[in-house]
């Protein structure tokens, strides 16, 4: 079932949480709302669910108006960051809850409920834990129970609010891959909120990057990573280095670098900022006229197979971090304090007044 978000605005007092949001989520998609805290992503999710009122705008689920409907009537499955399991009920009772509270006429018979709950527990691999209480489960297991509970009512869409936020790093990764697999089996339209770019890029079909109540960019994971629409997106999706320079006649000059920047050909001589990902910086022993900047190695940190090299450009710009492999480090035989040349492989140029 598709979700259409039309001109949604929301204020908390004088704070504008959402400013005129428009977004379409297609049937069967797994969409990540990605942004820092305070960007409005959770508020948007809660408005879709009906847990929060919008000041203006419309929500359509499967082409049907939802704003006037209460959460009970929307048929959305909602998964909370802190699980929100019913502590006084066993795992089985938790999952069965949504079926048991249905009005008598719509309530399935008891044996059907039992069958359905066991089927869902099998799906989340917790069949042997049916009689346990939430306090006897680990965080990852609790979240799977919460997911089974939400799926039990056969929701038209599944909404997940930072579903892995309260879990430790390993369980997080395991569970998000498992969620992706589950989605591939069920094809239920799903929206999840996260502030973890890895999570969004790995799991989602479509990533919606949000900042300060607005959508910065919507696109596939590769699209938003490779072609960020704004400095914010560039910054948010991974470690980045910033170089200041000028652009004229469609060519950016950053220190000794000359970068072809045709999209800015109409712009008169202006200050620009070049963004380069740490792993898009190579280090060389020799200068390559126009595509390298002389610098000095300040520190070398080895993190597993990755080596982070901090460099100070000779032209006085801020420190630059390069991420290279250990093989490359050995090949270069770098020492701290040495003079080298920074070679950015891929630079994205934005006009300066796009402040972050």
């Amino acid at each position: 079932m598709s979700i259409n978000i039309v001109n949604i605005s929301k204020k908390f007092g004088s704070f504008e949480a959402l400013k005129d949001i428009n977004l379409t989520i297609n049937t069967g998609e797994l969409v990540a709302l990605l942004g820092p805290s305070g960007s409005g992503k959770t508020t948007l999710l809660r408005i879709i669910a009906g847990l929060e009122y919008a000041d203006a705008g419309e929500i359509l689920i499967n082409e049907r108006e939802m704003i006037s409907r209460k959460i009970r009537e929307r048929k959305v499955g909602f998964v909370f960051q802190h699980y929100a399991l019913f502590r006084n009920m066993t795992v089985f009772e938790n999952v069965a809850f949504g079926l048991k509270v249905r009005p008598r006429g719509l309530r399935p018979p008891k044996n059907e409920i039992t069958g359905r709950v066991h089927e869902l527990l099998r799906l989340v691999q917790l069949e042997s834990h049916a009689e346990r209480y939430p306090r006897q489960l680990s965080g990852g297991q609790r979240q799977r129970v919460a997911l089974a509970r939400a799926l039990a009512v056969e929701p038209s869409v599944l909404l997940l609010d930072e579903p892995f936020g309260a879990l430790d790093a390993r369980v997080r990764i395991e569970l998000r891959r498992w969620l992706r697999k589950l989605h591939d089996e069920l094809h239920i339209t799903s929206v999840f909120v996260t502030h973890d770019q890895d999570e969004a890029l790995e799991v989602a079909d479509k990533v919606v990057v949000m900042n300060a109540g607005r959508i910065e960019q919507t696109g596939g994971p590769e699209e938003v990573y490779d072609n960020p629409a704004s400095p914010f997106v560039f910054n948010f999706l991974g470690a980045v280095n910033i170089f200041h320079g000028r652009v004229h006649d469609g060519c950016a000059h950053i220190g000794s670098l000359k970068i072809d920047s045709r999209e800015h050909v109409d712009v008169p001589d202006t200050m620009v900022v070049g963004y380069v990902r740490s792993h898009d910086i190579d280090i060389g022993r020799t200068a390559t006229g126009g595509s390298s900047i002389p610098a000095r190695v300040r520190t070398i940190h080895r993190v597993g197979n990755i080596v982070r090299v901090e460099l100070l450009p000779d032209d006085g710009q801020g420190a630059v971090e390069a991420e290279i492999t250990r093989d490359r480090l050995n090949e270069l035989n770098l020492q701290e304090g040495e003079g080298v040349h920074i070679r950015p492989k891929k630079v994205k140029v934005f006009i300066e007044d796009y402040q972050i």
Partner: protein
């Protein structure tokens, strides 16, 4: 020598703190109460039974336990509602209402009793309204219940309030997203979570009501067989210097209260054992 009682613990001070606890309990609770046993042991069993089964005494037992039970049950409803309002809603004057709840704790109970008697007397502000309906509170068991409600309800509010505060609103949102109505959410999700606290509040309110003397004697009128409570019976016996009789009644009261509290504590433990974290 290695004491098997003490397990190795990084928290020091087990023996000193246990010692102080037991000493304190003995001095303040056990020794004074044991004198009741000793005193009533001076009676023969026949005499003891004669005292505690006297019709006036039996009537006072029935009244005390009955009125306390009714008051405690009423307080559960009023107290939970009040705690709910104080936790979940914002309204002007909330701080004041919150502070007013504690007033029955602080007020000398006799003051409360006199105030209630004045209000509920047939020519009092409230009594005047009740009289045409045929309800006469003062000098009736109803008056006793009113006084016991007054002194007991803060216990329920103050025990339920913190538990409600801690209860995540998300739990209710989850129930709503699964299609549960407000009533279903309260009955199936919220109430079981606060039940242990409600039971604690009930016990405290009930226990307080059983022992209450000051506020009740004014509104009760103390008519034999009708509005005499157990503490009053004990006082009466003491005033007649019939100390063995007073202790005999106190003994029954003590044992009955203890059994009741034990029972409720057991229920509370049962209802709360699945709620620890999660």
């Amino acid at each position: 020598m290695n004491l098997s009682l003490k397990k190795q613990s990084i928290l020091p001070g087990f023996f000193p703190s246990l010692g102080i606890t037991l000493l304190y309990l003995s001095l303040i609770v056990l020794i004074p109460l044991s004198t009741i046993f000793l005193r009533s042991a001076a009676l023969t069993f026949g005499r003891f039974m004669e005292i505690v089964t006297a019709p006036r005494v039996v009537a006072s037992f029935a009244l005390s336990f009955g009125a306390s039970l009714v008051a405690a049950v009423t307080n559960v409803f009023i107290g939970v509602l009040l705690a709910w309002v104080l936790v979940r809603y914002k309204f002007p004057g909330k701080g004041l209402v919150d502070a007013l709840v504690d007033l029955p704790f602080a007020l000398p109970t006799a003051v409360g009793g006199i105030a209630l008697t004045t209000l509920y007397a047939e020519n009092g502000w409230i009594g005047r309204l009740l009289a045409p309906l045929g309800i006469i509170a003062v000098f009736n068991p109803l008056g006793i219940v009113i006084a016991l409600i007054f002194i007991g309800f803060p216990f329920v509010v103050r025990t339920v309030q913190p538990v409600l505060l801690e209860l995540d609103v998300e739990i209710e949102e989850a129930a709503a997203s699964l299609g549960a109505g407000r009533v279903q959410t309260f009955v199936r999700v919220v109430f079981p979570s606060i039940l242990p606290a409600v039971l604690t509040g009930f016990v405290l309110s009930f226990a307080r009501a059983l022992g209450e003397y000051g506020s009740v004697v004014f509104i009760a009128g103390n008519m034999p067989m009708k509005t005499e409570i157990v503490p009053l019976m004990i006082m009466t016996k003491l005033e007649q210097f019939d100390i063995p009789a007073a202790t005999a009644i106190a003994f029954v009261m003590l044992v009955a209260s203890f059994i009741l509290l034990l029972l409720i504590n057991f229920l509370q433990w049962k209802s709360g054992k699945n709620l620890v974290s999660g």
